[in-house]
């Protein structure tokens, strides 16, 4: 049922190349999920999130100092190795410093016909962020129009909003099933579903989601749910890790990742001024820690997720050197633990030592079984 998503994720480059042939459109590689995909869909552009390949590499050393996160280096490696040679443009929506370097090096060393740095505000808690981002979206829309050679109408934007919103609604409906005592999908399947949404045509993704939603009510997994876990932290599409984790009598039932709920949790609320509506969606979305100040608005959201999905424990993971998450983690773990949710911390690199992690995660999971022993 979820094979299609896995196939898209695994063969992302083949998919995009084929999409170009079929649709004759442009493909835009992007960094960070603060990129307003609604406008790209409105312009008939395929947005493809640049992700790493989880392979050891040696091509980024001259470009990015080794103290920056492995994810940003892995992403650049894909570009330097020519794996995204089909994209027509590249953009970033302002987020952490780490991924910014990937964008800068990409622009310099992998020439594109279009490149764009969107000044997404960090101060998402100030009311002035709304008009500011609205203005930035106007500038971005103008740049896009210049690139594609024709205007993007309100009707186009309405279509873009509708398609992307539908994608969010459908994925949220799928997530609802994860609340069940015996969820009919695994965390790995959910991960394939969300991550593939970041790299395929949203309308095709929506059709696949609708098929899944037809069958999901009657689906039974031939496995024990085991300990209900949530996973929190930096960018994570480490499917190998999730597969190992769910082989240990546990199930990931929810997450707070930009490859998970943070990507799709809220929708664009329609307004007459379309760009204002899109701006509000990105300002109000569950924040990346780099934008979560002065108040900690992430935390109540995460706690609510934990309650809604009946979470027993939380895996707090981070890409090595990911400062925004490192700065949140001590307080985040404290908050969860004070609310009766044990946490376990793991640091991810480009490749993950599955054997070591298995031993550590097993030890964490055993703590949930202890009360039964006595």
């Amino acid at each position: 049922m979820f094979d299609k998503f896995k196939e898209w994720y695994t063969n992302r480059h083949d998919y995009a190349k084929d999409w170009k042939k079929r649709k004759g459109g442009k493909v835009l590689g992007y960094f960070c999920t603060y990129v307003p995909e609604e406008l790209l869909v409105a312009a008939d552009i395929l947005p493809v999130r640049i992700l790493g390949s989880h392979e050891a590499q040696d091509v980024t050393e001259p470009h990015i100092f080794g103290m920056f996160c492995p994810f940003c280096r892995d992403c650049l490696a894909q570009g330097l190795k020519g794996r995204y040679d089909y994209i027509n443009g590249i953009m970033i929506s302002q987020s952490c410093l780490h991924i910014r370097q990937t964008y800068n090096s990409w622009v310099k060393h992998i020439p594109q016909e279009f490149s764009y740095y969107l000044y997404m505000p960090h101060g998402v808690q100030t009311p002035h962020a709304y008009p500011f981002l609205h203005g930035e979206l106007e500038v971005f829309k103008n740049a896009l129009e210049k690139w594609i050679g024709h205007p993007i109408s309100d009707k186009d934007i309405d279509r873009g909003i509708e398609i992307v919103n539908k994608n969010r609604q459908l994925m949220k409906q799928v997530y609802e099933f994860r609340k069940q005592e015996e969820p009919p999908l695994t965390g790995l399947e959910a991960m394939y579903m969300v991550v593939s949404s970041q790299m395929v045509d949203k309308e095709e993704h929506n059709r696949a989601l609708e098929e899944v939603l037809k069958e999901l009510p009657n689906r039974k997994l031939n496995r024990n749910t085991g300990t209900r876990l949530m996973i929190l932290g930096s960018e994570d599409d480490d499917t190998e890790f999730v597969e190992m984790l769910e082989s240990l009598d546990s199930t990931l039932v929810v997450d707070d990742h930009c490859t998970g709920t943070r990507y799709f949790w809220n929708e664009v609320e329609p307004q007459e001024d379309r760009l204002a509506a899109i701006a509000a969606r990105y300002i109000d979305r569950p924040p990346c820690p780099s934008k979560d100040w002065p108040e900690r608005k992430r935390f109540p959201h995460i706690l609510q997720l934990a309650k809604d999905y009946n979470v027993q424990g939380a895996l707090v993971i981070q890409q090595k050197f990911c400062d925004p998450h490192e700065l949140d983690m001590p307080a985040l773990r404290k908050m969860l633990e004070e609310n009766g949710i044990p946490t376990y911390f793991l640091e991810f690199d480009v490749t993950v030592p599955i054997g070591q992690f298995k031993t550590r995660v097993e030890a964490f999971l055993e703590t949930f079984a202890l009360p039964d022993l006595f």
């Binding site: 050393e61 000044y119 101060g123 203005g135 002065p294 700065l327």
Partner: protein
């Protein structure tokens, strides 16, 4: 040892600078004894704005404080251990760890207990800035916090709409300051602070520009002790007065060929904060006649620059030099925002190429023979894109030595290894 070619002498103003710095940290610590106000925040905070609360408002800026801690290696190590024991990663900003460690230990590096601020007031351009004071606030039991987002992009794109975003936050900030302190805000004091900040930061650029001269009247190790006033009190009259005197003294040194390093034969620049506990590296270079004449960091962390009519970099023309009469709160904030966002050291947050271009300009105009790039594990903000900057130097044919270290955590700096790398570089420069 290279031959002595130029006369040299210590700066006459040196002790005055030391006293001024010490007095400032004391004023902050003792502010409450005189009914004054203390605030803490980044060195890049809009410090002129809280000045509208009165003349008895003193700040503790985190980065210079973190550097002062770093200079005391034993205390820095204790700070790191204290904050790491709270669960914070050791690869976080070293200044942040020094600062937060001081809070946890409840020790002020200048003696006594850590003087808790009345409020936190900062800007956010690097991932750590607002988060730093968010955590400080929590560790202190909930100190009020106000953060201003300044991530509005390159200065070339800083149009009226983007400036309004910053100014509106500052206006909100003034209302917030009145609310949390219970004081009335004085726009005249704000306006004077804006004039002061523009003059002080322009004067620092003027002083740095004098180092284009051969021999250089200042060496970078000395400049570290001088630029600090721009990081702790850039809006205050004392900073203006000090930089005026310093500018006059450096002019005398230029006129009389008084060198910072008497045996100057090669000129280099560096990049990012140095490993503060190991500044002897600079003296090692000087023993071979190599003087570091500055860096983009030293020049423009605070210095305000502009391109002059002849195409070279010089001090930015102040509003007062332009005959601008600031009369309202909004006008003061608009001028301050525009002045602040023109800061060269902010441009690299958006573009590696911009930084490379600025550094190559310095190489040309300051007649530089080589570049030492500190791959600084302690500061991701200023180490941003540093590897691309190295490639730009290579492409331009400028000798470049990257060395890895940490501005504030001695566990990540290997002095002997660095000296060996420097030896090779000295050979490349033909002085060893």
């Amino acid at each position: 040892m290279a031959e002595i070619k130029y006369q040299t002498k210590p700066l006459d103003i040196w002790n005055e600078g030391k006293a001024l710095r010490q007095q400032y940290y004391e004023n902050y610590a003792k502010a409450h004894e005189k009914g004054g106000i203390r605030w803490a925040g980044g060195a890049w905070a809009y410090s002129a704005v809280p000045a509208g609360l009165g003349d008895d408002v003193w700040s503790l800026t985190g980065e210079p404080y973190g550097a002062s801690v770093a200079f005391d290696k034993k205390f820095a190590a204790r700070c790191h251990e204290a904050i790491e024991a709270k669960g914070f990663a050791r690869d976080l900003c070293a200044y942040l760890r020094n600062y937060l460690g001081s809070i946890v230990l409840d020790e002020y590096v200048f003696g006594g207990k850590f003087p808790k601020p009345d409020f936190q007031w900062t800007t956010h351009i690097c991932c750590s800035h607002a988060k730093w004071y968010q955590i400080a606030s929590e560790l202190e039991g909930g100190t009020p916090l106000f953060c201003i987002d300044v991530s509005t992009g390159l200065y070339q794109d800083f149009d009226e709409r983007r400036r309004e975003y910053v100014v509106n936050q500052l206006l909100d900030g003034i209302n917030w300051l009145e609310k949390i302190t219970g004081r009335d805000y004085d726009d005249e004091k704000l306006i004077q602070a804006v004039y002061n900040e523009c003059e002080a930061t322009s004067l620092w650029a003027e002083i740095c520009a004098m180092n284009k001269t051969i021999p250089a009247p200042l060496d970078e190790k000395t400049m570290y002790s001088l630029y600090v006033f721009g990081t702790i009190m850039k809006h205050r009259p004392e900073a203006v007065a000090f930089y005026r005197k310093l500018r006059d003294e450096v002019q005398v040194r230029v006129d009389n060929k008084i060198a910072a390093v008497g045996n100057e034969q090669r000129r280099v620049i560096t990049d990012t904060q140095p490993p503060w506990g190991f500044l002897e590296v600079f003296r090692y270079l000087e023993s071979y006649g190599v003087v570091s004449v500055g860096s983009l960091y030293t020049f423009s962390l605070i210095g305000a620059w502009e391109v002059k009519d002849d195409g070279t970099w010089g001090p930015k023309t102040t509003p007062q030099e332009q005959g601008i009469d600031i009369t309202t709160r909004r006008q003061a904030l608009e001028i301050l925002a525009d002045w602040t966002h023109a800061r060269p050291e902010w441009q690299h947050f958006y573009s590696a190429q911009k930084k490379s271009d600025m550094m190559l300009r310095i190489v040309r105009e300051w007649q530089v023979d080589g570049v030492l790039l500190h791959y600084n594990r302690g500061c991701e903000g200023l180490s941003l894109n540093i590897a691309e900057n190295r490639l730009a130097f290579k492409e331009a044919g400028v000798p470049v030595l990257p060395f890895e270290g940490n501005m504030g955590d001695e566990r990540e700096f290997d002095l002997e290894r660095t000296k060996k790398a420097v030896d090779s570089f000295l050979e490349l420069l033909g002085v060893k």
